[in-house]
Symmetry: C2
């Protein structure tokens, strides 16, 4: 099976991007609402990559670039919202979108990339070169 | 001991902000370089709070707001770079800056706040209402 990797584009919102994300958790957005959010994310420097087969999105992941004061004003990348359409699991789509973002982070000058993952995904990310570094903590506000 | 909490401002770069951060890790920036980074962070929507006593910064933490597609276009907060000047540890400064950012995240409509922390800091964040949710992973690029 072959797929291509490229940046998210506007017509993806009607071609499987929201459906792919919805297998991660609730999405519940119209394509029009999603385009407005996308513009805000672009303005903040968030980069979303998609894996496509034909014109259908089957995978996605996003990279937030954070410009720090520490490490001589160094940049780090946060990987978020890695999702693969369930019809296309086990074909290397998830690995490919994560690798693409790590490479994008490298080209953007990041000194590290971080993410948080469940115990179930530890092996997946370890194979991609990540190591467990610390604890992912959360507080729910709603 | 009393201290105030407020947003980072330009003269903090010459009044202990960089020194406070340098106890976390290398900073090695001039105040002028730091101001340029600060402008970029402001443009990206990063919020940095400081604890001050008189005109000296003795603590800091930062909040990145991430506008997601998931959860009906929900927003989450990432807390980063929590630092307390070593001369002022054990006085509640760290708790205060983190609580301030959690409240800022709540006012900004976030449905959750996340951060990653070492095993040594698990108790500190648990007392502030955080729970261990998953694993903090990293890959070093430099």
């Amino acid at each position: 099976m072959s797929f291509l990797l490229r940046p998210l584009q506007a017509d993806d919102f009607q071609n499987g991007f929201l459906e792919t994300l919805s297998h991660l958790t609730t999405v519940d957005l119209t394509p029009e609402e999603a385009v407005r959010i996308w513009r805000g994310r672009n303005a903040a420097g968030v980069r979303t990559v998609v894996a496509v087969t034909g014109d259908r999105v089957i995978g996605t992941a996003s990279l937030i670039l954070e410009h720090k004061f520490i490490h001589r004003g160094g940049t780090i990348g946060h990987i978020e919202d890695v999702a693969v359409h369930p019809d296309h699991e086990g074909k290397g789509v998830g690995s490919a979108v994560v690798r693409e973002l790590v490479e994008l982070a490298r080209l953007s000058g990041c000194y590290k990339v971080i993410l948080s993952c469940s115990d179930d995904n530890l092996t997946f990310y370890t194979r991609l070169g990540f190591r467990r570094h610390d604890n992912g903590m959360r507080i729910d506000l709603k």
